[in-house]
């Protein structure tokens, strides 16, 4: 409890602010929600997201390759965050009388 962990969603949210390579994503996600993804977990999520066409690789910068979110990825991110927002609003509403 305390840290939100859904690696693909975290990667999408990180890339929503612009293209990033793996290490920059880890740092950004740590700032965003306090979860520090392991390299294996991160690349597992990157591979799945790329497979689904929700992110795409850019030209490599030396040995590092940045990724960017696609239009489809943005739609998925918006839909997932909207669902989460509805969930948190409803959950917090239930806590109010307590």
């Amino acid at each position: 409890m305390g840290h939100y962990s859904d690696p693909p969603l975290l990667v999408l949210a990180s890339l929503a602010s612009g293209p990033k390579h793996g290490h920059a994503m880890i740092e950004d996600i740590a700032r965003l929600c306090g979860s520090r993804l392991g390299p294996g977990t991160l690349y597992g999520a990157i591979a799945r997201l790329e497979q689904q066409g929700w992110i795409e690789p850019l030209e490599p910068e030396e040995r590092r390759r940045p990724y960017r979110i696609t239009a489809a990825g943005l739609r998925v991110l918006r839909a997932k965050l909207t669902t989460l927002h509805q969930f948190t609003t409803a959950g917090l509403g239930r806590l109010e009388p307590l």
Partner: protein
Amino acid sequence: MRPWLARMVTRLYPPRWRQRYGEEFEAMLELGPGDLGTLLDSVGSAVREHIFPTRGGSMERDPNSFGAVMRRPSAYLPVAMSLVCLVMVLGGIGVGLAQGGQIMRDKDEGSMAHIFQILMTVQMPIVLFFAVKWLRRAPRPALGVLALQAGAWLASCAPVYFLHL
């Protein structure tokens, strides 16, 4: 993480995965801490990749393959421009043959001729940009694309040259 350890951890992944992500993954491991948590996460992920390999998507394609390079606007736009010119020329010939039974030649250069000249000329800086950018990064696919661009350009010019249009 020390480079030799990063290399060893990366080698735990299947060859196909390494071919696609190996270099960038190893570079990222070298930037991060080499603690036990990182090692366990990477080893666990490598084992998962052996059991449930990532399939489809870009795992099947090299970002510097001919297909990937061909999808760049600077690669396909010149080919598309040449093909538009070719269709215009062949269309003009076809219409001429259908209407008068012979190839129609304008004494003055009409709008089609101007469009042809613009399209054939404007693609030159695009081809140059493509060559400068891609010949260094991916020489073989870039040469293939350049050959295709040259072929399309020559195919568009051939009827104009041989039929004296």
